[in-house]
Symmetry: C2
Subunit: 195 residues, 2 copies
């Protein structure tokens, strides 16, 4: 097990309905040392790519993306989930459906911060059915930028998102892939990944 898998075993909570709660260290209370280590790990996995921008989506992706951006020495851009009155001018927009929140959101990135020539690493905390991620890919490619890679903290391997993204040919790295969870015993089974 790697450091994130170990932490999930230690502090993650398995709930009915395929819910894995990691809110004590990843998406409500944040262990910033862990996030920094995750950022460093993404850097190690993608450092050979000519990445000049990290893209994520609010809210809990921001923290991981920040530390990744620090290790790459590049800016981070986070997509917003609804039109803010403080955003004006031309926007890249994609409509995505949230699995967690059971609603549709417009995902928005200003054209000033993502465009032709940008080589993007997309970062997010969770990948389940992949709707948010598809929105970020759509926005990146619609902007004329290149998706150099996708870094996910926790992928739910029993949902369709990861398979779809890999089938489409993207370089997707998930630090932990959960293939099975049992709310009765609280056990989590991780997919073996090649080093």
């Amino acid at each position: 097990m790697n450091f994130l898998e170990e932490r999930i075993v230690k502090d993650g909570i398995v709930k009915e309905g395929n819910v894995l709660k990691v809110d004590s260290f990843l998406n409500h209370q944040m262990d910033v040392e862990l996030l920094d280590r995750m950022g460093k790990e993404f850097y190690e996995r993608f450092k050979d790519k000519p990445i000049n921008k990290i893209l994520t989506i609010e809210a809990s992706g921001i923290a991981i993306a920040c530390f990744a951006a620090k290790h790459f020495g590049v800016p981070m851009v986070f997509a917003k989930k609804s039109k803010s009155v403080n955003i004006d001018g031309d926007m890249h927009v994609a409509e995505v459906e949230s699995f967690t929140h059971k609603c549709k959101n417009q995902v928005i990135v200003s054209k000033r911060f993502l465009g032709e020539g940008d080589r993007v690493l997309i970062i997010d905390d969770f990948l389940a059915n992949g709707c948010a991620l598809q929105g970020l890919i759509s926005i990146t490619e619609g902007a004329g930028a290149t998706v150099e890679g996708i870094g996910i903290a926790i992928e739910k391997g029993f949902q369709i998102g990861g398979r779809v993204i890999r089938n489409l040919g993207y370089h997707l790295e998930s630090l932990a892939i959960v293939d099975d969870m049992d709310p009765a015993t609280g056990t989590v089974k991780f997919r073996e990944q090649m080093k």
Copy 2:
């Protein structure tokens, strides 16, 4: 001028309606080196307090709070703006009205991550009329925790928020206090602050 004020002068854009756009470095595209420096500056200003937790509110507060938490070596907790299906159990709740988005939000923190004995530094990117901040203070004190200080990136000094918070006796540090802005010339006037 300090490093943040200099950056605001260089890259901030003054718009009609008392809007200061800093979305190229602070709340859409993020300059993570700048954020890290802000986190370090908050550490310098509050390091004598027995702070064991950083509290902020999604979304753009998260990045600054992360780097502050890294410098303090403590966890960060971010308050959520609407009830997520992944949050269960007992919550601290406050209702806040957003100036920017012109709507009311429930602000929520799990009781597992904020409680009696916690000594909290509240961090946010903007302080205008202070509604979000009042919600965070209300949640902290309602939890039986102590507000040791409040660190803000940019305070709009011509709005009421900062004065109210200081009148209430809180130790509030804003890295930049904007006393006046002129959309016609694009100039920003900062309040002189004691070192």
